[in-house]
């Protein structure tokens, strides 16, 4: 599909918007529909789209595989770390009230980090699955 000019131009135009929309869904999840899971999936879909049009190597350049792998684990760690931050600041596990100056801003901060963790893990796993599936056909001869 790399040689189709219409697909290339449309992908070039759309991918930035998809990534920005993912960020919007991530940070606007407090006020409108959305949140970490949706944002992670949309970001992953944008990169999958890019890799479909411009080839797997371009996708790897945009989101290198080692970063994607680190993202999978980092998301869970961020989520669990938010819980431990609650303990260290004198609350219970995953207790956000102690994270800010007053309970409401603490809740905001806690939800923000938790959603960030979810988004990291989800988009990491989606991208990694895509890379693994598409990478399978790459070295067929040496089996």
């Amino acid at each position: 599909m790399r040689n189709d000019i219409i697909l290339r131009v449309i992908a070039k135009i759309f991918v930035p918007f998809m990534l920005v929309f993912a960020l919007y869904v991530q940070f606007h999840g407090d006020f409108g529909p959305g949140g970490g899971f949706q944002a992670g999936v949309i970001a992953a879909a944008a990169i999958v789209f890019y890799a479909l049009i411009f080839g797997l190597d371009a996708g790897h350049r945009l989101a290198p595989e080692w970063i994607v792998e680190k993202m999978i684990a980092a998301g869970v760690l961020v989520y669990a770390g938010t819980g431990f931050a609650g303990i260290f600041l004198g609350g219970n596990y995953l207790d956000y009230f102690v994270l800010g100056a007053d309970p409401v801003s603490g809740q905001h901060r806690g939800i923000f980090w938790v959603e960030a963790g979810v988004a990291l893990t989800v988009s990491g796993v989606m991208l990694k699955l895509f890379y693994m599936f598409t990478g399978r056909g790459r070295e067929p001869e040496d089996a």
Binding site: Q38, Y79, V114, T121, V125, F133, G135
Partner: protein, 165 residues
């Protein structure tokens, strides 16, 4: 949607089955929007119709496009599916009516979430407040499940690649 499902089941060409599956996901997302579950609808559209269609097409590229002839007659699975469907339909008779405000699910914790979550968390979207704050442990568990699934796939597919070398 029912037409899509029947077409999918009768389809021998796996490629069209995958495309129909994506179509079904979009229908499902529309239904979820109609039910005011916009968060779930976004997920369904992005995962069900987008990413999983791409993954299935990637798998099709590896295994080829036509379904193998079934080894057995489909009578026993068909009977089982119909029996389970009948049991489920029977169970649905006991559910409260659709959008019944007095249903048990709406009288337990839901009113408290709806009335207090703005005061307690300052987050206008109740779905986000429940998901990330009140049900923080559940969401942590879900994230770990997604992590485990990814790790499992990595473990499965990567070893195969090493063998090949």
């Amino acid at each position: 949607m029912a037409v899509t499902v029947f077409a999918m089941a009768l389809q021998r060409n796996l490629f069209s089955a995958v495309v129909l599956f994506g179509l079904y996901s979009f229908f499902m997302a529309t239904v979820l929007v109609a039910l005011d579950a916009v968060d779930v609808a976004m997920t369904e559209a992005a995962v069900g119709a987008g990413v999983s269609t791409v993954l299935l097409l990637g798998a099709l590229y590896l295994v080829g496009g036509t379904e193998a002839k079934p080894l057995h007659r489909p009578l026993i699975p068909l009977t089982l599916a119909i029996a389970v469907g009948v049991v489920l339909a029977y169970g649905m008779q006991g559910l409260p009516a659709f959008s019944d405000a007095q249903a048990p699910i709406h009288t337990h914790v839901a009113p408290r979430y709806l009335q207090e979550s703005m005061k307690e968390t300052g987050v206008p979207n109740v779905v986000t407040a429940v998901l990330a704050s009140y049900r923080g442990y559940d969401t942590l568990g879900e994230t770990v499940v997604v992590f485990t699934a990814g790790a499992g796939v990595i473990a499965l597919l990567r070893r195969r690649r090493k063998d090949a070398k």
